[in-house]
Symmetry: C2
């Protein structure tokens, strides 16, 4: 069984991606280019990501709050590096009704400025530190070339900011959030990642260092899936974020920030899905399980078995599809939507107290006696589902990585849709040159015990770097 509306991955990966999004009912395109409606199925996935990450954040005593969307344009001028990055992308409000504003507002491309004011307003002395806050919100960066979840003019993210009196504590916290993200990616989204620091060239401009999680898609391209920054005192100095220390003097605060966005849904799609549709990890799937029936109204056995199964299952988000459409269509629809498990009930199996279980991870069908079905049985199948899709993603990642020892080898690796792994200790210009030559950028640094020769400068270094084309 295959769904003709979904483009095959090896025919056109990019069209495959957009066909999955349409067929799995994730978005509608909206009236303004680069904006989309997140339909209930997509919004539920994002909310499940939020729920899981909020649990991690709660462990670190991070509290959610909510900042205004509008920021005075003049505030952006205070941080020159900040404005340079965003200026051409800023949606700007010059008037209210017909009344022109004296000075314009912008729709937040990010909320650093408001977080800084928050810390300024709420910290007097070291007793008030640390403060750890987060917001889930929409942000705005006008994009010319847009693709759902990967690059849109309005997108959704969380931005987590914290201030500390102690540098080590701040750095430690940046790593803790990094670990929370890794847990989210690996254990909730079943996405293996390459991790490490960004190079000076690729790090967030306002940060002392940036930790990144890089997922590798089925086409060998990297997708930056979360970053955690140690900001040092950079913003603190621009925004005069001082506090009274224990010696009655004043110090600048130490700051961190971190974020993940709806790009993660793009990562989910391009990591797990196949030519039959979406495949979703069980912990963020809107429905972990669907019960599909044939002849529900006409056949007492079918009806009874649905009832029996419903009463047996208590811990899962599940859906029933018991209308009079064909069972084949229902199975295919659930397959396209990537629901981890289907319990399919037709009259013949029902007569024998059996049902068909369809495993989306492998598209395998098994016939099961209904006696076997209980919470533990389903739990085990969901665990198996997540293990299979994680393992497959890990195999894909492993198969893409290629050690290279020269620029020439790097170029070839990238041409072959690989992620190149090389000793590298170059500067910003070296990175730019390599990018022009190969269209690959550095993804992250992994420090080695053993030194090797930088593929660009020839110098000995203990830094190895992943290079890849990236979304």
């Amino acid at each position: 069984m295959s769904n003709s509306k979904i483009v095959k991955r090896d025919v056109d990966f990019s069209k495959w991606y957009t066909s999955i999004i349409t067929e799995a009912d994730l978005i509608d395109y909206s009236l303004i280019k680069g904006t989309v409606v997140l339909k209930p199925y997509a919004w539920s996935i994002w909310k499940n990501i939020e729920k899981n990450l909020d649990k991690e954040f709660a462990k670190h005593n991070i509290e959610n709050c909510c900042f205004p969307l509008l920021i005075p344009y003049e505030e952006f001028l205070k941080e020159k590096e900040h404005i340079e990055g965003f200026a051409p992308e800023l949606f700007t409000v010059d008037r209210i009704g017909e009344e022109k504003l004296e000075s314009p507002y912008v729709l937040r491309p990010t909320s650093e400025i408001l977080f800084c004011y928050y810390f300024k307003n709420n910290v007097v002395s070291y007793n008030d530190l640390p403060i750890k806050v987060n917001q889930w919100c929409n942000v705005f960066r006008a994009e010319k070339n847009t693709r759902p979840f990967l690059r849109t003019s309005e997108f959704y993210w969380q931005e987590q900011h914290a201030v500390f009196s102690n540098k080590d504590e701040a750095i430690d916290f940046a790593y803790k959030i990094f670990d929370s993200y890794k847990y989210l990616l690996n254990n909730i989204l079943c996405i293996p990642v390459l991790t490490g620091k960004k190079t000076e060239y690729e790090k967030f401009a306002g940060a002392d260092f940036t930790l990144t999680l890089e997922a590798i898609m089925q086409d060998g391209q990297a997708l930056q899936s979360g970053t955690s920054h140690y900001l040092g005192q950079n913003f603190a100095k621009s925004y005069d974020l001082k506090y009274q220390n224990s010696k009655n003097g004043y110090d600048y605060m130490e700051q961190t920030s971190a974020g993940v966005s709806t790009r993660l849904i793009g990562a989910l799609i391009m990591t797990h899905s196949d030519d039959d549709g979406l495949i979703l990890p069980s912990k963020i799937a809107p429905y972990q399980l669907i019960i599909n029936t044939m002849f529900y109204e006409k056949n007492e056995n079918v009806k009874n078995i649905v009832n029996v199964i419903e009463n047996k299952l208590s811990n899962f988000s599940f859906k029933k599809n018991i209308n009079d459409k064909s069972l084949g269509i229902k199975i295919q629809d659930a397959q396209i939507k990537g629901i981890p498990l289907q319990i399919n009930i037709g009259p013949r199996d029902a007569e024998n107290n059996k049902v068909e279980i369809f495993k989306r991870s492998t598209n395998e069908k098994i016939i099961v006696d209904i006696k076997k079905i209980n919470d533990k049985f389903i739990n085990d199948l969901l665990y198996e589902h997540d293990s299979i899709i994680y393992k497959r993603a890990q195999d894909n990642l492993n198969s893409k990585i290629q050690e290279v020892n020269s620029i020439e080898e790097l170029k070839k690796a990238i041409q072959n849709a690989k992620v190149a792994f090389a000793y590298f200790d170059g500067n910003e210009n070296d990175e730019k040159e390599i990018k022009i030559l190969t269209s690959a950028s550095t993804r992250c640094i992994v420090e080695q015990n053993k030194k090797g020769k930088c593929i660009k400068t020839g110098k000995l270094t203990n830094k190895k770097v992943y290079f890849a084309r990236a979304y």
Copy 2:
């Protein structure tokens, strides 16, 4: 014990309101007039409201989704009544960076337009109906005179829209949501309400009828706390929302919409709080319970009892305040923040295995043996808390209502900060005249079995109407 920073209600109700907001740490004022930061404590209250209402919505198979914030200005021109109401309040985006837009965008003051396009895109035939969707989001209406939660230029709400093939089903659904709101107000927020239809003059312009919930604040003013609209085919005709009916013809969809906003937090404050601070209902309080200690580090008894109590309680959102500040300050802080229950533990009580329980509903303190403390005990106290504050609010509401039989009586009642209840069957002009004379508006209609004389027209009518000044 009283907190001097909180203004007394009978000295200045309005200043009391803003002092509660500041002292309970609910908001920071932000950089743009009319916008505020919802600090963690306020955001948690709003999120708890969201969680509770989402449960109600789930019972009606309403799904959450997410629409873009920006709407092309020209779309507003299609619905003349729609644009007239909002035109002077619209934040308008004319450019991106330095690039002028060919046609401007507005920040959504409401999302009717996008919901209509959603229904247009997702409905072909009667088989696709009903569709019931909701979004939780921020909306924008520039306000000159702003007050936190009551009137701000950016605020938060949910907007719930649905389309049906059947008129009766649509009307029935509008009442179902109305009932969900009533449940939220009465049972979750502990706020009694006056309910009924709005008059033609006060209803939502695009609706055939509007159902409203009106809470009565401690100062006798009404606060509209939720509305549910039957929109008929009004928007369907403007936006050409047709579907193929079962006879292969085409019909316009029947539509409903409904919403509540962060005004509810304003209603909470002005319904329950007192001169000592906020009082929060247990089901939306960020912390239902706080454990305050004296000499936690120095006194083993205190430490042990905290430990014992923590292990006994499993079902509550609670907080520990065990730092070395004075117990008096901790008690007062928890009182200002309206935490329903405090368990206060000092060395002397601890020695006797006793703790003090502070009930915020009455500011009463009781000494309790720790043996008595368990989930049921706390549950009962929270139930008592909610009952007391609901009863007090109901008594306030009852005490404010005054039957009136003439315009003169109505005027006096309003002057005395009452809600006037009168037979009324006037038209829009009659309402306007009464408003000019008394500064009261009609809040809702309650149909009576017995007819009486309209206080304005003198005609016999079975409609009685509540008049009040309103936030």
